[in-house]
Symmetry: C2
Subunit: 407 residues, 2 copies
């Protein structure tokens, strides 16, 4: 059963109950055995794990990260109005809810590709232009806009901007490919794909419970991420500004594509790499500790009075310097075919969620941009920002409070 | 434990023994627990499953297909000679053997990314040019050459040809990314990457044992593949021509990239899609049967005398019409970012292994090229052919019999 979910405190019973319910609803079988029979046999394959679509928040945010994610930004076709955007969000809501349960999308020609969702989630975001087109420009929080330029950026329009976002995650890459296709196709008269980024983490089951992922630089990545049980987690994540009541229970999302120069990174000795990060590569422990989750001691010095964790190291620069700076990272590795003459084209799709980009995300990014040794091997090449509406209940659709709510 | 391996008759004890041995050899740990401790606890995570590198045949051929595969074709730099090709193959052999066991490559800066191999295999192939450069042109079997042009082809040089091939497979995409990088980098002064194709199947554990994969057209794909216990399997797969003794125990490989036009495929009704394939989409059973592995009855007709499986259907055209035409398919789905204006860029990396391309592979391909309804929705856009040397024992290197053997 789902080790990730257990590690993150999600009820195993809940997942099993959802799976069994979905099995009854779907009624699709493999090779003659129905899902119901398999559920009864209590040897449900991992493909039948389900993350509920409906709820007060969208899925795919606090969901323990699945092994695969595809991020798709779309641009609205010219000439749309509010009613067409409502239609688009209704179509996506219906399909996303069905696909999460292992049921085919409404116009799905390949229902079998939907039948083993493997914790499929679809998270839907609204880029800055949606507010204008829908005639609700006054409801756009100011930080739902392109980030201010940072000196470290070398942005490529192929990975930047976008009017709408789909974040589709599952532990199974076939499920992701199918869901992305169904969702992009169902709205193709209204929106066209602007960019697609495919990411991955370690496969389901590769590591013991509680394992933090590694990125392609070899670092353990995400140790210091806030956890749902942390004090202040809810406030850091969910929007609650009375000026934008439609976004209450929603959040905002930043998607940055961070290219890694692995060729020069590899030329650096192991100790220098550890000093650049501020953590050991083997265990991920801070240089002042022995275990991954030991709190870093930024004040500790060696016998010459030199800080053990260099002030220029990534963890020294990237840490939240105040509780207000905490945000949730949900990143994925990317590894695309190399450009001619190179041996790799790799990096991180750095996806973050936070109630307020200006207060939480930007101070940290500006500190990193100002100085962080790791900048020598990493370059932001893509950047996009989206409002993430709250979740919805069955029968409702995502974004209704913005588009037809009593604001 | 490894359900794929059980389904394909590979000894569970063997895998466990290999894993424990590798754990002792590697000595890398996560979060303070060593692999040895974890092995002793008999809750070895799936990442510790190992496929032995050494043996009479290369791994990654009869290995039950892992969830992820990256195919990399490389071109030799100008001015190489036999001794440098020997050096390249020695370097790859050493690194591939180490990586399979969860040990880092010899010049590996990120040993932690190698520590959970998840059935990692590296299969090494030699393209036509290697024989010339190494001065052993007389040892190239005539069918190790580009395939004769087929009328259905629309080949793109971005996915065709190549002097060397790496097929790197694992159930974990992070492991594949790392291994590909280590192997490509270790020979970068001798060979440059010509093309890279990344493929996937359903994730490890998504489906019950014995499940055949689905491709992105929704079809169950590979039902009729020969199995190691089938009579004639060894003869179909392994080369045994006395004219080329260096290739005894080796095979040949064809890598074709088959683009699928999913937009028009989806416009076809379900029944028409089933008639095009000759199988039902739900179970994969032939139209004359009820279960996936029922043998198709190509002679069966309906009450009007019309064949139930259309003679133009894919299974009617693609089936081996003689025992000599059997070959092993080991395909992977691909799903790359769509070209502008399209909703998908998907298809199949059709990788096949056979003792003799001319006798086994070509007759089937020519029959398909001549006529197969499925051609309306599929287009070969890439094609490459490689000799796959036999496996080797510890201390030896792949290809030695060709390059320094008594031929």
């Amino acid at each position: 059963m789902n080790t990730d979910a257990r590690a993150h405190g999600i009820s195993r019973r809940h997942l099993l109950a959802s799976s069994a319910a979905a099995a009854g609803a779907a009624g699709l079988g493999w090779g003659g055995r129905s899902l119901v029979e398999q559920s009864a046999a209590s040897t449900l394959p991992d493909g039948q794990q389900i993350v509920p679509f409906h709820g007060s928040h969208q899925a795919g945010i606090t969901t323990p990260p699945q092994a695969h994610a595809t991020f798709v930004a779309l641009d609205l076709q010219p000439g749309l109005d509010r009613s067409l955007i409502i239609g688009l969000l209704k179509a996506w809501t219906q399909d996303a809810a069905r696909l999460a349960e292992g049921r085919p999308g409404l116009a799905d020609s390949e229902p079998e590709l939907a039948a083993a969702p493997s914790r499929l989630t679809t998270t839907i975001g609204l880029g800055p232009a949606v507010f204008e087109v829908a005639g609700v420009a006054d409801q756009r929080p100011p930080s739902i806009a392109p980030l201010p330029p940072l000196p470290i950026d070398d942005l490529d329009p192929r990975y930047s901007g976008g009017d709408l976002l789909l974040q589709v995650c599952s532990d199974d890459p076939l499920v992701v490919a199918h869901a992305v296709r169904i969702l992009a196709r169902s709205v193709r008269s209204l929106a066209t794909v602007r960019w697609t980024q495919r990411g991955f983490r370690e496969a389901r089951g590769s590591h013991p419970e509680g394992h933090t992922m590694r990125n392609l630089m070899g670092q353990i990545d995400g140790t210091n991420n806030p956890k749902p049980q942390d004090p202040g987690f809810e406030q850091a994540l969910w929007h609650d500004d009375p000026a934008y009541p439609w976004l209450r229970g929603g959040t905002s999302m930043v998607v940055r594509r961070i290219a890694m120069d692995l060729d020069t990174w590899d030329e650096l000795g192991r100790r220098d790499r550890e000093l650049s990060i501020g953590r050991t590569l083997g265990t991920g422990a801070p240089l002042t500790g022995t275990r991954e989750h030991d709190p870093p001691d930024f004040g500790a010095t060696d016998r010459f009075g030199i800080p053990i964790i260099p002030p220029s190291s990534h963890i020294a620069r990237a840490r939240a310097q105040a509780p207000e700076e905490v945000f949730l990272r949900r990143g994925y590795n990317y590894d695309d075919p190399p450009e001619p003459g190179r041996t790799s084209n790799s990096g991180l799709i750095f996806a973050t969620f936070q109630a307020d980009i200006a207060k939480q995300f930007l101070p940290v990014q500006q500190r990193i941009a100002e100085f962080d040794v790791l900048n020598e091997w990493t370059t932001p090449v893509g950047s996009a920002v989206f409002a993430i509406p709250p979740g919805c209940e069955p029968g409702d659709y995502l974004g209704r409070a913005l588009l037809e709510g009593s604001r």
